[in-house]
Amino acid sequence: MNIQTMAMSEAVGDVMRKLTVAFTEFEQRLEQTALLRKLARGRFTLDDYRRFLVELRQQVKDGALWMSRAASNVGEDHLELRSSLMRHAVTEHRDFRMLDADYVSTGGELETIQSAEKNAGSEALSAFMFNEASKPDPFGLLGAMWMIEGLGAVKAREWGRLAQRSLGLPDAAVRFLLYHGDNDLGHIEEFKEMLALVLPGEETARRIVRTAEVVGRLYTLQIEEMAA
């Protein structure tokens, strides 16, 4: 390993450590929200699950959009990262349709989930993401991706299974959660490669971690707003 590679790998390790701490803080805050506490305690109702789908969907729909905007603001020194963000956006931009289908499988009306408003937490989260994505070289958003993809890799399947267990739902009604649990397991290697494209750099590292912390707080607010 030459000196440059060592500095890069040390910087990636440092950021990964801070991001992991941010994620575990995030997970603990989620644990305390009224809705997820009901889920963990086996007291989740069908209305709780429907509300979760409806209110999650409005923000999920924005995910690929802020990612595309972020890609468009990545300068030509980082074309590899730009490609990567674009690929991510393509993979995810129809995901909210899965939430629609899950909702209909629970007996809900398509019109209801499609016409619902963002809750206050979703508004804050989306607004923050679009604001970050509009900056030149918005590398801080890697921290946002870490948190949100971490939810997919670590939490989605767990939530899906718990909801199924409490409510006796068929797989067709929890596809979004189960699909993400399956899909995101390889994300850490890919994520480290993305970090390596923008690190080392003190200011970038700080911004990535800070963005992760803010996203964790705002995402929790979104779930808090789903108070049952």
Partner: protein, 378 residues
């Protein structure tokens, strides 16, 4: 008030009752629920990696030692190792998950078994982390100059809570006679024994001592429901007004609220919380992974899932597996006692050299707690 003193571990001791019991004879000691072999046992053993353990219960149900007695023997061994007499000991902190009595505290029972002169005592009840709570109390007492020396011990007599009578005729056993996983897994995980350390304001003149650098205990009980508990049924455990004491002992037992239980779904989340707390210590420079020569933890590296080990590597937090010292496989998981049983084995192995650093990590799933104790051999 005087200055703070350096504090040294000058002796360690352990006591494990009877002969080691191999996997295929465990249920002879614990008993079989409705006479049937456990369906889960083998899976639990594969996960925890334990091959031998000790029980203070014989297959005929007779008891060889009480929890307090095991603790007293461990304290005597530690005093011996420190070159101290019982009557020079002026402070004893004792820890356990469940003592021999409901009341009074465990330290009274241990002192009763030790006999001898009056002294100050403190009782700590939690799960595995109670060991470090007692150690911190002993450490601070010596550090502040309240006592020149102190002992901290921890003991468990888990096997008695695993007898069939704790489960049979309760909501924990289904119509087919199968015990709920929340209860059965622990029967194959925990066993009996005690350990102790002696702390002093001076290092030993002959041989190695361990200068205590810090004991940090972090509890996340404000964020998680109980993960390993006794005293409430699985479904109602978050409701403290519905615990066994409110239902009464007979109804509490029938509802499955007396046995020791573990929520394995929640445990996965608690493990991540432990990792987070550990990485915070690394990030803040309190723990420097490459400076640690011996890591003691009563979780085996192999029971941590591969993705957690790889996460520790990715975050520059992993202490290489070659530096992990464990006697889990041959001496069992003795809960609160584990950390001192391991430290005692390590010290007596002769593997520790002057100048080396030891880190004890004590995770407690009870309600998401983790403790760290770092020492330097001097």
């Amino acid at each position: 008030m005087g200055d703070l003193h350096d504090v040294f571990v000058t002796g360690t001791g352990a006591f494990l009752p009877g002969d080691p019991v191999p996997n295929d004879r465990m249920e002879d000691h614990l008993g079989r629920i409705h006479g049937r072999d456990s369906a889960l046992g083998r899976r639990a053993l594969r996960w925890n990696g334990v091959e031998r353990r000790h029980y203070a219960l014989k297959p005929d149900g007779s008891v060889t030692h009480s929890n307090a007695e095991m603790c007293a023997r461990a304290v005597e061994h530690a005093l011996d190792a420190a070159g101290m007499e019982r009557d020079t000991l002026s402070f004893l902190a004792a820890a356990t998950t469940q003592g021999d009595y409901l009341v009074p505290g465990h330290a009274t029972a241990v002192q009763g078994e030790l006999g001898g002169a009056a002294m100050e005592i403190a009782s700590f009840q939690s799960v595995c982390g109670s060991s470090l709570m007692a150690a911190k109390s002993a450490f601070l007492n010596v550090r502040a100059g309240e006592h020149r020396s102190a002992a901290a011990c921890a003991g468990e007599f888990s096997s008695r809570w695993f007898r069939p009578s704790f489960y049979e005729g309760t909501a924990l056993v289904d119509a087919k006679g199968r015990l709920r996983a929340e209860a059965d897994f622990l029967r194959f995980t925990l066993s009996d024994g005690a350990g102790a350390i002696v702390l002093s304001d001076r290092p030993r003149e002959d041989g190695l001592s361990l200068r205590v650098e810090f004991i940090d205990i972090v509890s996340l009980a404000g964020r998680f429901d109980p993960c390993m508990w006794a005293g409430a049924a699985v479904e109602t455990r978050a409701d403290l007004k519905n615990s066994w004491a409110h239902q009464g002992p007979v109804a509490g037992h029938a509802g499955g609220g007396i046995a020791l239980l573990q929520d394995f779904e929640l445990l996965k989340r608690v493990i991540r919380a432990w990792i987070g707390e550990y990485l915070k210590k690394v990030d803040g420079g309190r723990i420097v992974p490459e400076a640690i020569d011996h890591l003691l933890c009563h979780y085996s590296a192999r029971s941590l899932r591969a993705e957690i080990v790889s996460l520790l590597q990715d975050t520059a937090g992993m202490i290489p597996e070659t530096k992990w010292f464990s006697v889990l496989r041959e001496k069992g998981n003795t809960g609160a006692a584990s950390i001192w049983v391991m430290l005692d084995s390590l010290m007596r192995s002769g593997a520790v050299k002057r100048g080396e650093k030891l880190l004890c990590v004590v995770p407690e799933s009870g309600r998401a707690l983790v403790g760290f104790m770092q020492m330097e051999a001097v």
